[in-house]
Symmetry: C2
Subunit: 226 residues, 2 copies
Amino acid sequence: MDHPKAVLFDAYGTLFDVYSVGLLAEQLFPGQGQALSVLWRDKQIEYTRLVTTSSEGAHYQPFWELTRASLRYACKRLGLALTAEHEQHLMNEYRHLSAFPENREVLQVLRTRGIPTGILSNGDPQMLGVAVRSAGLEGLLDHVISVDTVRKYKTHPEAYRLGVQALKRPASQILFVSCNAWDALGATWFGYRTLWVNRYRLPFEELGTQPTRTGSTLDDVLSFFE
Amino acid sequence: MDHPKAVLFDAYGTLFDVYSVGLLAEQLFPGQGQALSVLWRDKQIEYTRLVTTSSEGAHYQPFWELTRASLRYACKRLGLALTAEHEQHLMNEYRHLSAFPENREVLQVLRTRGIPTGILSNGDPQMLGVAVRSAGLEGLLDHVISVDTVRKYKTHPEAYRLGVQALKRPASQILFVSCNAWDALGATWFGYRTLWVNRYRLPFEELGTQPTRTGSTLDDVLSFFE
């Protein structure tokens, strides 16, 4: 099979480590940092689906707002008193998530080889701009695409279609990379070639569809170009 | 405000106790029964959303199949060896979930008052038929409505619309009852009057919309008719 002609990356969980907020969470709520960061993330994803499924955009809220709403929910659920100061602190941390260490080099190799790259993310444009800059990835990505344009979150086909439109190529020529199994599944359903980066050694979704390949770090992107 | 003219109930989690499989799960996998029943349920709901969001029905699988898929995922995730025999045993248990104890009486009171009632559920028709019979609720419900007709799960508006169509009344005249916060939210967004039965003392969703009322058991349905 031909090499992919372009590569799209998911952002949250794939380029940026959403669990890197756990350290601050642990400082603010000793003994609950991990539970909070996991529930916060799960609820954030759940909220993207609730607002997307429930209407054709009428209940859409930007990712930043859903991130705040899910933080509030997670704290209530865990019985943690979230002061306005805590909230601001945690949200600010979420704005500046750590990048996974191998990202830069993989993006640089792709750049050297002349492969167009982009982010296709649930994040809203402002969040993505700050995250890309603060992770030092500026200048290494040709496209930063937010689903905010269509007001529908992945795995909605309209969200995935934005990548095809930006890269002006059919999905079958584009490699879509995600560490989120549900995202790799949705992208595969949409028609992308897919790499599921299984960072946490989880099972893949049991819905009868497999990603094109499975890897363990972002380095495995390069195996598509060998 | 006028009394509601009809009452629709969610099935799984509301009339039927989805965690009643935990006892068998604990026998099969000692020490893991609760974790399995919680993850199984969470994943089942997640799968309804993934297949609904990802397409206009193209990736739909009936609830029975999603229930099986989510059981398989949950066992893999927890590192439990699910034999074919275990799977059959657990799925059979899911087919015959316990009903919450107060259900029969509430349905009987509504019947006495001449209020039309129905189930509006993600379950497929066969599952619902067996569950209603095995819970002894046959003859107490005027409508048993499955989203299978539209191949989209709640919280998709087409799924909620089935209730309006069956009862031939506007949503604002119908009380929708669910123990699932996301379902009470979706139904409220759609336009139903809603009762969230908060059996597990959880926070409500933080998405800016509240159910019409919140209760703690199904008995609270009757407060709408006082």
